[in-house]
Symmetry: C2
Subunit: 161 residues, 2 copies
Amino acid sequence: MPIAESIRFGGSEGQKLDAFREFIKERGLKSTRQRDEIAQWFFRLRGHLNADEIYREIKEISPGIGFSTVYRTMKLLCDSGLVQERHFGDGEALYENVSAHHDHCICTLCGKIVEFENDRIEALQESVAQEYGFRLTSHKMELYGLCPECAKRADQGLTES
Amino acid sequence: MPIAESIRFGGSEGQKLDAFREFIKERGLKSTRQRDEIAQWFFRLRGHLNADEIYREIKEISPGIGFSTVYRTMKLLCDSGLVQERHFGDGEALYENVSAHHDHCICTLCGKIVEFENDRIEALQESVAQEYGFRLTSHKMELYGLCPECAKRADQGLTES
DNA sequence: GTGCGTGCAAAGTATTTGCATGATG
DNA sequence: CATCATGCAAATACTTTGCACGCAC
């Protein structure tokens, strides 16, 4: 176990940065200014960003940086287990920090994303996996529908048509 | 409710084709040979196909067909609610017939996909959605891990390294 | 110094769009 | 016969790769 579970799930930014540096060293890779800057900045975030958003933000900190470095570093971060890549709806990759297990509720109208956790669902997932002999490593659960605001708006809209 | 739920979930191919034609008429669109051929052929399938696989298969039936027609028709089928688009792992779109609600267990080594249903999980999803005021329309749940064969192979492999 | 990392540009994928022609209601 | 659909090619969006130079170990 190269990176302690306790750090991977919910460690502070500093711990995560250390864990990432350690991961890099273990692989015989090199610690660079760009990798540090992206990682340090990203670990502070909450939410889901695509590659372009990350690139535009990180360019403020690290002006000369290239798009490929962002992709390569995000891939490294995913390999380290500290960050996860997601694909909601369309095929664009969104990155988020791995914290505790959590899943997503996504509004199909306004795109709002609510995160939630449910231990009973997790337990049932494990039992389903056992039933098929699968050894689980991760999961994704996405609930799609209308958020309270959009649902209300949709109901009001119904009276017009 | 333009298309009856009973047809959308688990109707026969013929019922689905009728439902699709009706959907097209409702939208003021036109019924064409290509749309019928793609729909009729696709409704008979089970499993998950990408656009390229669909294109290559449908070309056997409908030689002159274009890639764009496949994409446009699959999008129409998704709009009709009879087919669903999925993105497992990477960002490629996979299409599948909507049957009963079911979810997926995916082997991260060999790519095997097992489908399953679990009413208790569905019920919990509904209660989570209520908690946040969401009105659910659909969901995706994917469990990632090693299938029995790959898990066994991985265990044996461990003794070598 | 060696080898990996970087930034750029170019190449790859997967998907969408513009347009002239053809088919449908 | 007006409108929508088709097939092609070009365009787009997102991501990866090749390469020359630079930096970390």
